[in-house]
């Protein structure tokens, strides 16, 4: 069965969607990611959608579901690389991806995840002295 690869890098999981996904593939990714977060105790998920030419309501819903499920499993999600034409279309479609954190590119997305994890560790263990 066709699958979208999920890469592990330390405490993070990385996904690059490079194909035009049919609906079942999107559902499979949602399930696979949820399982991997739980197996690896990942603290953050980065989803790169810079190759996606469209995001329709189905894919938008999948991104929202992944963000919600990962939050329940104690991981942050950030979606990066959305093309401007996709953003314009998505908003006109009526989806504003509420609850999904976004960043312009992979670097900015990783910064967001790291900062968020640091803030959580600080809150847990008290501020570190540098």
């Amino acid at each position: 069965m066709e699958r979208i690869p999920i890469l592990r890098m330390g405490e993070y999981l990385l996904v690059t969607i490079q194909v035009d996904m049919h609906d079942r593939l999107a559902m499979t990714l949602q399930d696979d990611l949820t399982n991997r977060i739980s197996e690896t105790s990942a603290k953050g998920v980065l989803i790169d959608i810079s190759s996606l030419e469209i995001v329709d309501s189905f894919i938008g819903r999948m991104l929202g579901n992944i963000a919600s499920m990962s939050r329940v499993l104690d991981a942050d999600t950030v979606v990066v690389g959305m093309r401007p034409a996709v953003a314009i279309t998505l908003v006109e479609l009526g989806m504003s991806l509420t609850g999904v954190r976004t960043a312009l590119n992979v670097d900015a997305g990783m910064d967001l995840l790291r900062n968020s994890l640091d803030a959580r560790k600080d809150a847990l263990y008290g501020s570190r002295i540098h």
Binding site: I54, S57, E92, G94
Partner: protein
Amino acid sequence: MAVVSTEATPVATESDIVAVRRLVRETAAKLGFSLVDQTKVVTAASELARNTLIHGNGGEMELITLNGPRVGLRLKFHDHGPGIRDIQLALRDGFTTGSGLGLGLGGAKRLVNEFEIDSQVGQGTTVTVTRWK
């Protein structure tokens, strides 16, 4: 209005939705649509193709290229499904009979210039959308 070409393609499986997106994208690009307009019409086609598959039990899409006086792309999604009982309700954001978000029909309408639904309960539904260049 000059119809330049007409092409029919099946909408019977999930892979057909992907094929519809590709066909609409290629045609819109060939007609010289801007990138944003291509993205809008492809997204609308994706929503409508999914409706045809899920709510209409499959059907087909007719792709019509219009040229003169205006250049445009017209898509007709046709199915022999159960039909839509209340079109106004079906167009409302958030209304759904399936498991989706209820953005498909109303969302697709916002992404095109012309939108028409012809639906007979028990007979089927035809949704026709046009996006002008």
